[in-house]
Symmetry: C2
Subunit: 251 residues, 2 copies
């Protein structure tokens, strides 16, 4: 399954997102994905278990609910959504994943994925086989702790979403999501004020427990208040303070 090294990039060229043969050691996302004090030989070991052979086209699945769990996945480029299908066939979007973020942890518990993951746009993925990761974690305490931390943060984020759904108005929910995306963009050294949403209004509404119409109305309202400029999926945050105020959470 390994892919032959592509045409040689010039040496000083920063590896672009589509060069999916880049190793963790010189991946520009490693500050997000692996903020670890690992020896370079440790990184080599990790590199060796990671598979980078999975560029995904828009709307293709990375895994599906109830698939056997084998790996967790780091997003290298693009964006994905994770969603659960309920017994009566409805869908619930449980998260959006951007470059540097890791998904698939919900599959460990029962050896089967508890959600499906679908590409929102063309996405490059690093696959991390979990059994290898477990072995490596036993040998590298830092790595073990790192993955405990990643899972713990996923729990914390889910709990934030629970709070959002349980306590906040439509305005607050949408504002909070815009702020979240903005923050995560900044972490990747991208603009915190201008970006293109990779997901549809339906996905946003589904994620936030709102209908499409309500999401749309909130965007219109925000635009009228000059908090956001909205042009279909292109978003510009005109008034970050106003947006934070609307989100009603000062984090």
């Amino acid at each position: 399954m390994s892919v032959p090294p592509g045409q040689a990039d010039s040496a000083d060229f920063i590896p672009c997102a589509h060069d999916y043969q880049v190793s963790c050691g010189n991946c520009r996302l490693n500050a997000i994905c692996l903020p670890l004090a690992l020896e370079s030989e440790d990184i080599d070991q990790l590199d060796r278990i990671i598979q980078r052979s999975k560029p995904l086209q828009k709307s293709q699945h990375l895994y599906r609910q109830a698939d056997e769990f084998e790996s967790v996945y780091a997003v290298r480029s693009g964006a994905l959504k994770a969603y659960r299908t309920t017994d009566d066939g409805r869908e619930q979007v449980t998260g959006f994943y951007f470059p540097g973020e890791i998904l698939g942890f919900d599959g460990i518990g029962n050896n089967a994925h508890a959600s499906s993951a679908k590409a929102l746009e063309t996405s490059a993925i690093c696959e991390i086989p979990f059994s290898s990761l477990q072995k490596l974690s036993s040998l590298m305490p830092n790595l073990q702790r790192h993955f405990f931390q990643l899972m713990s943060r996923e729990i914390t984020e889910d709990q934030q979403l629970i709070t959002l759904l349980s306590k906040n108005s439509a305005d607050e929910r949408v504002a909070a999501l815009m702020l979240s995306i903005s923050t995560r963009n900044a972490r990747r050294k991208l603009s915190a004020t201008q970006f293109r949403l990779p997901m549809s209004r339906v996905d946003i509404g589904n994620y936030l427990g709102l209908t499409v119409e309500t999401v749309s109305r909130v965007f219109s309202r925000m635009q009228k208040l000059s908090i956001l400029r909205v042009d279909n999926k292109e978003i510009e945050i005109l008034d970050p303070a106003g947006l934070r105020h609307m989100a009603n959470l000062s984090h």
Copy 2:
């Protein structure tokens, strides 16, 4: 901090919940808490790091949000709620914890508890210092995997709650909670149809994203339909199938 062995129980007496010096090896909850193929000497090692010196009175805190994270905790008897306090001072109950269940995982991510945990009634707790657990996990692959699984299941459960909050009506939410408690009771060999709720209506409403009044009305409605008998905190499920139907989820 260690407590002297209590008055000797007669040898054939099943250790009761208040005998908090029982070891994991003969704890009647270990099928829930530690369903592991561990050598008895492994269990001994685990026993040695676990501290059982924390009986908690009703409304006392086990830990508070932003406290330094040191341990995760297994409930031995009683019940607790976990809740987050938002920036603007409101509370969100994120979970209820019953005997055999483990809480505190959300603190690993940032070395500080992301929620508070409070006893809903007198509760006995096993404290599991996380640094010891990490070391032990490196040596015992089964144990490492077990804790990855526990955290993964917490993620899955949070995502179920997200779905519930996002997609389900008040009736469905309350019904789902009653079913969850019933199932967890059954796992502990207690009645699946009769139990006493340890939490208040306020807590239930808070957890489910509803007001107290709505929770109360749902209970009244369920009683009118002969699905439940409700006498303050005493619950009897009269029509389990009807309850499942009302919850609108067949799991």
